[in-house]
Symmetry: C2
Subunit: 360 residues, 2 copies
């Protein structure tokens, strides 16, 4: 029997890579459990720094800063998956990284991720590896259009993607990849998208939040609604497949799983080895939200109670949506969550609101 | 018509006097609304500092530090009422203090507070001003025993109090006051104690959380239970009298009102011009908790939704209770709130738990 590591003691330091809103809300959750946090973030004045005990402002190439950061922490976690591999190598010689390296390796590369998911017997969109023009021609012949060409690495919020309506778009789309390894993905006919925010503890216990239904615009999540429109069979499927993924990765922490709901079952869109925008509703819908659940897991503590006690619609506040804050603050059914970012930019996630109603 | 001040802009700084657990939880609530906080605290490494943007470690006699602190903030609030008057004088020349000076003046002195409450037509325990031995003899003849001799100022958690079982205890009790101005309070026969956590916005709007029922041991709050055992008439009385106090003080922020439930109505025990230990249940029982409600008020924002959605029993974790944290972390109905204090001491409030059940 494998021995599980000791749970983190009260007062221990959790190192968090990335100082954006996810790191910020992880920090708050960590404080609630009696931990302190240390944020590592290349950008100046990160939102998470306002609520963290310590902040290191340094690049992911700064091995001395990475080492000092790792040594200050008892365990290291992260708010985003695109951490340079070399930085992870440095950090891991000093402290455990949770969720572990395998989850990062897989989710950092769209191709690796899709192969992994299929290996678990899960459905994905049709896809093909695209190293150059010949690959693309062959793949388009097989997958057809419409399709999306995506960089294999470092994509988020619709970035690094190009849509092909017809084969004639191939050259333009390939040029947009700028030589980066890419993937062609076929379109999936789906009625709606849902996501499961799933957690696995260090002891192997699994707990999933109720699936949420997501609406995107311009590649950015706009709203998540719980409960999602799912039959009870679909709900069970969604949770079982998320647990399947967690167990295959021997995962520790919270994982976001995006699913397309189709006539031929649930199709996995993508996974994210971290707390997830579509799980923000849990802050006002559950006693233990996704942030605390993640901290509990990476700290080696037991998972908490993620049962849903309300219906919630989470809406992201993006760019100029911030002008609506005074009005939103007056709405009694609306809970505000603002990220403390100094500059409002178009497309930038500035906060979110949770609209809470009685559980249906 | 009096013009209300402009609401605080996003990103504004809220200065908080005191860096204990109340300042800590106020800081977290402020961050949720997009504010940053600056803590002023004489003691090193205050719990609130772990989740605040800035900390000033300086004495309340340090006028230069107070001035710099005030100038860094847009508004100043506090987590405790015993702030030296001279410090308040310095701060107020630079920035508004909310709740205002009148609430502090009254609640800093038990005698002034009782006179104020009676002036509003509210019931208090019988009391008498005690400047020396003669006063005490006369007061004991009128009020009788058992009674409690209390310092007029700077008492909390049962400190600065001496119980008199008989007139013969007078000399010992007076010696314990060490020459400080004191107050003799008669005992009140009551069935139980409740408290109302009441909020008033800058526009005069009032919102009260559902009353909680409090159990003390050794002068320290142990548990608060909502709903409290109250008839609907008593509940209405409790909320109306809290609103009466708020309006009389032109109060801005959250106020705690402790009440004895007796056969001849509700008797006001004491008021605290701040968030209150007996309001911690709101963190897991309401969409907007007492900390956010206080921040909304002092920021000049509209009050939020404090409607109760669950039954809650709040239990303080005091001293060695912290040894129970691993067990508490496994209980699914229990939400943990740990204060990040380095040293466990007997009688020290280290955290609390909220036990959540479906609303009855």
């Amino acid at each position: 029997m494998v021995q599980t590591p000791d749970p983190l003691r009260l007062g221990a330091t959790i190192g968090i890579l990335g100082g954006g809103q996810l790191g910020r809300m992880l920090s708050v959750a960590a404080s609630r459990l009696g931990f302190v946090t240390h944020i590592y973030e290349p950008g100046a004045n990160p939102p998470a720094g306002q609520v963290a005990d310590r902040v290191t402002t340094a690049a992911y190439e700064d091995h001395a800063a990475l080492t000092a950061f790792a040594e200050s922490a008892d365990v290291i976690t992260y708010e985003f998956e695109n951490i340079p591999t070399e930085a992870l190598d440095v950090l891991e010689t000093h402290r455990p990284i949770r969720p572990g390296r395998e989850a990062l390796r897989i989710s950092q590369d769209r191709l690796t991720e899709k192969v992994f998911l299929q290996g678990l017997g899960l459905q994905t969109a049709p896809f093909a590896d695209i190293a150059g023009a010949d690959d693309l021609t062959a793949a388009l012949a097989e997958i057809g259009t419409p399709a999306i060409l995506k960089t294999r690495r470092f994509g988020y919020d619709g970035k690094g993607q190009s849509r092909l309506s017809a084969s004639t778009d191939a050259q333009t789309a390939l040029a947009e990849m700028a030589g980066a390894p890419a993937l062609l993905e076929g379109f999936v006919e789906f009625s709606h998208e849902v996501s499961v925010i799933a957690a696995r503890g260090i002891d192997g216990a699994v707990a999933c939040f109720d699936p949420g239904e997501n609406v995107h615009r311009d590649g950015i999540l706009r709203t998540t609604t719980v409960p999602a429109r799912l039959s009870s069979a679909q709900r069970t499927d969604a949770i079982l497949l998320a647990a399947n993924i967690l167990n295959a990765l021997e995962y520790v922490g919270v994982l976001g799983v995006e699913l397309f709901v189709t006539g031929r079952g649930l199709i996995v869109n993508e996974i994210a080895p971290r707390v997830h925008n579509s799980g923000h509703w849990t802050q006002n819908g559950c006693a233990v939200d996704q942030f605390e659940q993640h901290i509990r897991a990476v700290a080696g503590w037991p998972l908490g109670n993620g049962q849903r006690h309300a219906d919630v619609v989470m809406e992201n506040l993006i760019g100029d949506d911030m002008n609506r804050v005074p009005e939103l603050a007056r709405q009694l059914e609306t809970a505000l969550h603002i990220y403390g970012k100094a500059d409002v930019k178009p497309g930038r996630k500035m906060g979110h609101v949770n609209r809470i109603t009685q559980k249906s």
